[in-house]
């Protein structure tokens, strides 16, 4: 038998009709995640064509992008950014009722960012194909599921047929070996990787992250890594499932129980790249060299260790990026004054991320003049964090503790920064205007974000790892 990569195994198990020179493969989709922003036009298409949604049982919807993160008022009214946002949410509620889709909406104890709740519910499982009208669907690759973002036309295709027309992508192995230094985490690692391979280094590829540094990561850290695959241009990032994966998933609501669980795990253990299988391209990263890493420009490939000098612009576009950021070539990002700190998003809003930020903040205060928002990824994360008292740590430090949602990562719900403000953000994109027109984004880990909030300047979290008495 030919040796196969993890990607090839998952791909081949989902081919309904193989690809030919003239036609792409028809690929079966196990799980379709839906949210309010990229689905309304697809539901309209179904309606216009008189079609049903083929597999409501393989479709899971939630509200996250346009939703306010401040609570409803006494009358139950939620503070939407505008009437259109409110109407968009209402439209998804109507669409889900009409087409029989399970919506984790406002009244659900499980609502949250689509890429946070999929795994939490156990809807995300190893070996699956998962799509969503959202480029950060790559997150679910942490479980060994082939997961990628699609456009709204394709959302309609999956709703109607549970399939997509796809050309087989190329494979890129990113081997990460060695030990991450103390105080350096998964976010630093993925920013470092994107800085190395470039913002388009993964275009046309599915990435498989492998090596002992990847195996040592927790599931939440693996999700952070896979989440940002798209920031290097790769539609999907995969990590082979292992005991860490199975332990994290066990007992979650949508997973099989008892003997069926054991059978599933036995099956999932085969989801590994065979010895001798080849990739189209391979890259090696030394984990021991990674330091607290931040971005200095206007795309995630412009990333560097915070204590290293910002490189000189090589062309007009890079110069424009440095000018926009008010970053100075030759000077490190560390020490740059901060206006806003955001902890949240599908990259870093899980319980371990909040613990990491709280660890730095406990007994300390957010610096005067700095605004800090902490937005949990889901209602489950919020409950767990509140049970541990993390919300008290945040509010005592002077940060705002919000209702789950995408919030300031995409800044379409009213949570945004003002022109010129510098945001240290645990999200995934530092594009011009991403967090508000004229706002400047520096991507960072939760620990770096919290340390920067305390210092009022971009700060090395390792200087804040010792807890002070609360």
């Amino acid at each position: 038998m030919t040796a196969k990569t993890l990607f090839e195994k998952v791909w081949e198990a989902h081919v309904v009709a193989p690809e030919s020179t003239d036609t792409p493969a028809v690929l079966y989709i196990d799980l379709h995640l839906v949210h309010e922003v990229t689905s309304p036009q697809a539901f309209s298409e179904l309606r216009e064509r008189g079609l049903k949604l083929r597999r409501p049982d393989r479709t899971l919807a939630t509200l996250d992008h346009s939703t306010p993160t401040l609570p409803a008022d006494a009358s139950g009214e939620r503070p939407y950014a505008n009437a259109e946002a409110k109407a968009q949410v209402a439209q998804l509620e109507t669409n889900c009722r009409e087409f029989g889709v399970d919506l984790h909406g406002w009244d659900s104890a499980d609502r949250g960012i689509v890429h946070v709740i999929g795994p939490e519910l156990g809807a995300t499982q190893p070996g699956m194909t998962i799509v969503c009208g959202d480029s950060h669907t790559s997150t679910h690759g942490a479980f060994g599921a082939l997961s990628f973002g699609i456009g709204t036309t394709e959302v309609g295709h999956v709703m109607a047929t549970q399939c997509l027309l796809q050309r087989k992508p190329k494979t890129l192995a990113i081997h990460v070996d060695g030990k991450l230094p103390s105080g350096v985490g998964a976010k630093d690692l993925i920013l470092h990787i994107i800085g190395e391979i470039g913002v388009d280094g993964g275009t046309g590829y599915v990435i498989e992250y492998r090596g002992n540094a990847i195996e040592a990561l927790s599931m939440e850290e693996r999700m952070t890594v896979c989440n940002m695959s798209i920031e290097a241009g790769a539609r999907a990032g995969l990590i082979a499932p292992d005991d860490t994966t199975f332990a994290w998933l066990k007992g979650r609501p949508r997973l099989p129980q008892g003997a069926a669980w054991e059978a599933a795990v036995a099956n999932w253990r085969s989801l590994r790249t065979d010895a001798g299988a080849t990739y189209d391209r391979e890259v090696h990263i030394d984990a021991s060299k990674v330091r607290p890493t931040v971005t200095y420009g206007t795309h995630p490939g412009m990333a560097i260790a915070m204590d290293k000098p910002v490189p000189a612009a090589r062309n007009a576009v890079e110069k424009r990026a440095l000018d926009y950021m008010k970053a100075e070539a030759g000077k490190p990002m560390q020490g740059t004054p901060v206006d806003v700190v955001f902890v949240g998003s599908c990259t870093n809003s899980r319980l371990s991320d909040l613990r990491e930020a709280a660890h730095v903040l406990r007994g300390r205060r957010v610096a005067d003049g700095v605004r800090m928002l902490v937005v949990p990824g889901s209602e489950a994360v919020r409950r767990d964090a509140e049970n541990e008292g993390l919300h008290h740590v945040f509010t005592a430090a002077g940060a705002e503790w919000r209702v789950p949602g995408c919030s300031m990562c995409i800044a379409m719900n009213g949570d945004l920064a003002q022109p010129g403000q510098l945001v240290v953000s645990t999200s995934n994109r530092n594009f011009e205007g991403r967090q508000g027109k004229g706002a400047r984004t520096v991507l960072a880990s939760p620990a770096t974000a919290a340390a920067s909030a305390v210092a009022g300047r971009i700060a090395d979290p390792r200087e804040y790892m010792t807890e002070v008495a609360a």
Partner: protein, 194 residues
Amino acid sequence: MRPVTRLHSRTAVLADENIDTDRIIPARFLTTTERAGLGKLCFNDWRYQTDGSDNPAFPLNQPKAKGCSILVAGRNFGCGSSREHAPWALLDYGIHAVLCSEIADIFRNNALKNGLLAIVLDEAEHRWLLANPGIELTIDVREQVIALPDGGHIRFQLEPFARHCLLNGVDQLGYLQQHNDAITAYEQRVEIAA
């Protein structure tokens, strides 16, 4: 989708590399539930000044760029978010082709499904087009060739199925539905095994 066989236009150039879909249409405009009418928001934060007037520094606001439906853009156009609002906005704004040495995967898929010609060229040809804005090109989808004003031409590759759909106005959802029996058979095989 209407068939797209040929496109004739002068070129406009946006030379910046890595123009992301947030720049093509900022996220705050994604609260719409429609596809139509997004052209006025295309490149919003680059194209308009704070008072709402046209930003003269935005290349597509210059008189010579008016009416151009072929955009030559810097490398890695359309990176970032999967929003199909980006090709919808470009088409409504009047851009019917993007020529580039590299185009982000999701954007390219979305564009071609809407009849926006997302065409990848080799680097030398791309450099030449970036350096020569305003020239008249004719893109021939059937022959996969771009005719230059001096009689020269540039060859390009399109994924064969995308090309077939463009030329014949194929409804891809309709094509997928023709596989209904195979899809049902797949579901039965996999779900019984599980």
